[in-house]
Symmetry: C2
Subunit: 467 residues, 2 copies
């Protein structure tokens, strides 16, 4: 792909759209916007400018200009991505939605919110809570990620078992298309069959089919009670298989989380505090919400199932403490090693135990240091592979790549997919090309070409259109 | 749109794909497949042939042939549509999925089913129940409609409040594209962020973007208990507004149904049996499922809310009797008048009371005989307008059309949409063109053109591509 560089004239036109102070080309700014949360610098790339529009209309004008002056535009929310979805691979413009951070409505009668894309997820959660309402979307990075990015990656997180991922929170979206048109897709309706479901095509398309400029999201009444159960198992596969047992019994936790012993030790070291249980700990955290009347029989069933699966301890956990530990996962791993290869694989829920064996066998074969946490209520396993300090990047990377090929081959045989919630971005693009059914991939490219004939919106993400 | 007529040569090629006995051109067969459940013959159109393929590969071969020989192909499931989605407007081939009626898997461990498109919804429900499982999709026509059609129209029905519409039951689809490619979209995963969500684009596209040839659907454990409450209200708007009150209180019924007094009288006459309550009856049926422990406090809350809304009677209803009455709605209306104009409008849930007033004011203004039933738990109101026997079709139709224009204008001002669950098809196509945001409609057409460049798959449905 080749594009026009941003000329002085183009930069002036950008300034005339968003205001001069909101077009930045200072080296430190470009540096900041050259990457997301992926630390490996081989994935970083400098933009030529960063723009900060404040309205749907400004974004539409930027896209119209991009089509005429032929420069790429890469939309960016909180910059918390883990797949390089917001990295400007071909330079051009990074379009930050930071200034579009208003909550426009929070309606208790209709149970919905209308927000701009730059609203932090935690801010929406808090604003809803202040009105006795509940926004169910909850990525682990909720303190720093934004709603626009949540929708673009179909972010998952900690309540997806009961409430679904971000795509399930969407009523309607205002979207600027790659050619600079403004569309209204979806509606604030519990159901409809009125034309193509464009909002679900846009959700999870990682900013390749449109820029989300406003979202109408579902709210719920606040759950009356939340209880977290910590069950500790000596055997990791028995721990993991507990997730399927709970769902088969008709229980519907908000989430079921897993952490294995090496991961728990890593978190203990990072937090400087011991976590419950003795050696050979595998944690399963089960969170239930609901009314008091629902809770008691549900907790009894959970207890019975965990015991049957061989849990040695089943405790009601301190909400703050247990989630502080779970949410420290990423930081703890980073404290152990500056370079970490992160997998976000997802498998059918009842095949996770089997897949965990494969992960461990391969880690053994390729001599890898792993830390594993999983949203096992929805089959999503985060495998982190640490680079040993003493090893060279290249030899480590070679083993990581060999492991990845073997792992993904097994994954797809089990009916799994590359990404459960982080997305494909630039990072997993080549793997996406390799492991996706060719006709299905071709159809995705057909849609991209039809909507973005000049290929100016977030090029090089998810797949390579030139192939 | 102009197409090639089916020549002898083309018919032979079709026969070589599906077998000679499965290509039918007999006039009585063509007649049968010239319409769906819409009785108005102005919407009927004869196909040139009806084909009955038995596999994905056969359907792919038919689509390849259609692109070469340039004839239209109209996919058809149970033929129970109410929007003329399966009517062959331009002749050509009706492709019936009747022979593809196998349930290929029902898995209690993974909680899923794999089915062919011609499986009757009720058959899947029964097969799941026999294994202690539950398929949540439940259109009112479940005895006769098929899964393929359910997905194509995103059928709603009687459990959408708690379980969502048909699109929410989908894990994965095998789809034959308009150009005859076979794609696998989605996966049997609770969540994923691995490329475009094509399965949700296909669902609800009414057979214009692909033919569904296999579906992997979600199952659940069977609910332990089901209770139906019948609440009778003197005031229709108070009855209707009860739906929003229940949801605001955090209750999650499987469905909330509404029928007004004239409709109840119509059903009583059709069933030759009296329904509970005195004059000025407006029924709200509230169905809850769950465990025994959940049920009691939920029923108490329902009682309190219904009383607050002015209900005169709140009864635990006989499941069979109450649903026999509710499901007799369409037949009862048909018994009153052979010609009925049916609306399937949907509005935000808390604005239904307001919308009901508008419906009644307009019915009064245009002197219309109405029968109204609503899935008020999701804002979907079925307005039926009966033609008086003594009136000419043309003068009645004129009033119906004037009413429709006024009604839809008000509907869209309230944030509503044309169709809650029946789809647009051929019947509401012109209204879709008129009431949809132009840029959004243009994007839908762009997608259709990209996927079906020869315009051979179900042309003329949802919108008019030539405009």
């Amino acid at each position: 792909m080749t594009y026009q560089k941003l000329t002085e004239k183009t930069l002036k036109k950008l300034a005339s759209i968003v205001g001069e102070e909101f077009v930045r080309t200072q080296p430190d700014v470009l540096q900041t916007y050259s990457h997301d949360e992926v630390s490996d610098t081989t994935y970083h790339h400098l933009p030529e400018a960063v723009v900060f529009p404040q309205s749907t209309e400004e974004i539409a004008a930027i896209m119209k200009l991009a089509n005429v002056a032929h420069f790429p535009v890469v939309p960016r929310g909180g910059g918390t991505g883990l797949a390089c979805g917001a990295v400007p691979l071909y330079g051009g413009v990074v379009l930050s939605t930071e200034r579009m951070d208003r909550i426009l409505a929070l309606d208790p009668a209709g149970l919905y919110a209308i927000v701009e894309p730059g609203v932090r997820t935690a801010d929406l959660q808090a604003a809803a809570a202040a009105k006795g309402l509940f926004y169910a979307g909850d990525p682990c990075s909720s303190d720093s990620c934004c709603i626009g990015g949540n929708i673009a990656t179909n972010a998952g997180g900690n309540r997806a078992v009961k409430y679904g991922t971000t795509r399930h929170q969407i009523y309607a979206l205002t979207v600027v298309t790659p050619t600079g048109d403004i569309i209204q897709t979806g509606a604030r309706l519990k159901k409809q069959s009125t034309g193509y479901c464009l909002e679900q095509l846009i959700a999870g398309s990682e900013g390749t089919l449109g820029i989300i400029t406003q979202a109408t999201l579902k709210l719920l009444p606040r759950p009356k009670q939340i209880v977290d159960i910590l069950a500790i198992f000596p055997t990791p596969t028995k721990a993991i298989d507990t997730a399927a047992c709970l769902l088969q019994a008709g229980l519907l936790p908000t989430c079921i989380e897993f952490m294995d012993e090496p991961t728990l030790r890593s978190i203990e070291a990072y937090l400087h505090e011991p976590l419950p249980g003795k050696d050979k700990r595998n944690y399963v955290i089960i969170e239930m919400d609901g009314t008091e009347e629902e809770m008691e029989p549900a907790l009894e069933s959970i207890d019975t199932i965990c015991q049957r699966q061989g849990a040695t301890d089943i405790l009601v956990a301190d909400y703050k403490k247990i989630w502080r530990a779970r949410k420290a996962f990423a930081e703890a791993v980073r404290a152990e090693s500056l370079l970490v290869s992160k997998e976000d694989v997802v498998v059918p829920i009842e095949r996770q135990g089997e897949f965990f064996h494969i992960i461990n066998d391969l880690a053994h074969k390729y001599n890898l240091i792993t830390r594993i946490a999983g949203h096992i209520g929805d089959g999503n396993i985060h495998l982190n592979i640490l680079k040993p300090a003493e090893e060279s990047y290249l030899t480590w990377q070679k083993r990581v790549t060999e492991n990845q090929t073997a792992l993904y081959t097994a994954l797809y045989q089990l009916g799994g997919r590359l990404s459960g919630e982080h997305g494909i971005g630039a990072k997993r693009r080549d793997l996406m090309e390799r492991f996706t059914d060719p006709a299905t991939l071709a159809l995705m490219k057909t849609i991209k070409k039809a909507l973005d004939p000049q290929y100016v919106l977030n090029p090089g993400k998810i797949f390579d259109i030139s192939k």
